[in-house]
Amino acid sequence: MVELFFGYLAGAVVVLSLLVVFSRNAVHSVLWMLLMFLHMAGLYLLLNAEFLAATQVIVYAGAILVLFLFVIMLLNITEEMRLEQFTVGWPMGVSVSLGVLIAMLAALSGFRTDLKGPWSIEAVERTTHTKALGKVLYTEYMLPFEIASLVLLVAIVGAVYLAKKRLR
């Protein structure tokens, strides 16, 4: 049963990612991406990461993609659709990404999964996923967490400065 769900979600994710890259209309690209994120959230649910699934939808679908949509609406879509969508160097891009894919697939067989951490599925379910994540995040990863907030602050300031009209 789980294999069935995985098959559907994984197939959908791959097909939707291809559609994101290959569709001519940028707004349609964003919509395929939205569907891709939702299926990704489904995969996280299969992996018992419910909090991450919700975060994925809230942050990616609810904030980041809307930002993309905002900017895409600056473009002239009808004109854009008549133009060539790939750069002249596309054969290079295909070969590089295919090479990376083959290298990654070849390297995957070397993974060792016999080392197990303390958070088995039962342990996570007992404390609920949100609490378990919070415990690890706010003890072991306190400093990176603070740095992440600083990164966001810098991003806000930078984005506002870059996008605002020059005052003359």
Partner: protein
């Protein structure tokens, strides 16, 4: 039970598709979308590893990746807007001059 390798294969395929999009598309916005695709490919591998190795560290990393993705999208799109204001184009191969 789904073996771990299926998830890792899926992650690498999504990563490769995103890489392809980043290297070949002319539109800067779609290139930024492709970066998000690559990050998502990494995310799914990290969550799968964290689930199968019974350790939450992978998922914490996914958190930070999401934070960085949000920051990157905000900055990247602000740059696109600034570019659009100066050059009225969103195509990478038309941006050839320096010193704007």
């Amino acid at each position: 039970m789904v073996p771990l390798h299926w998830y890792l294969w899926l992650g690498s395929v999504v990563f490769a598709i995103g890489m392809f999009g980043f290297l070949t598309k002319r539109n800067v916005i779609i290139m930024l979308l492709s970066i998000e695709l690559m990050l998502n490919g990494v995310n799914i591998s990290l969550v799968a590893l964290s689930h199968y190795m019974q350790d939450l560290r992978g998922q914490i990393l996914v958190f930070f990746i999401i934070v960085v993705a949000a920051a990157e999208a905000a900055i990247g799109l602000a740059i696109v807007i600034a570019l659009f204001r100066n050059k009225a184009t969103a195509h990478v191969d038309e941006i050839t001059g320096m010193k704007g």
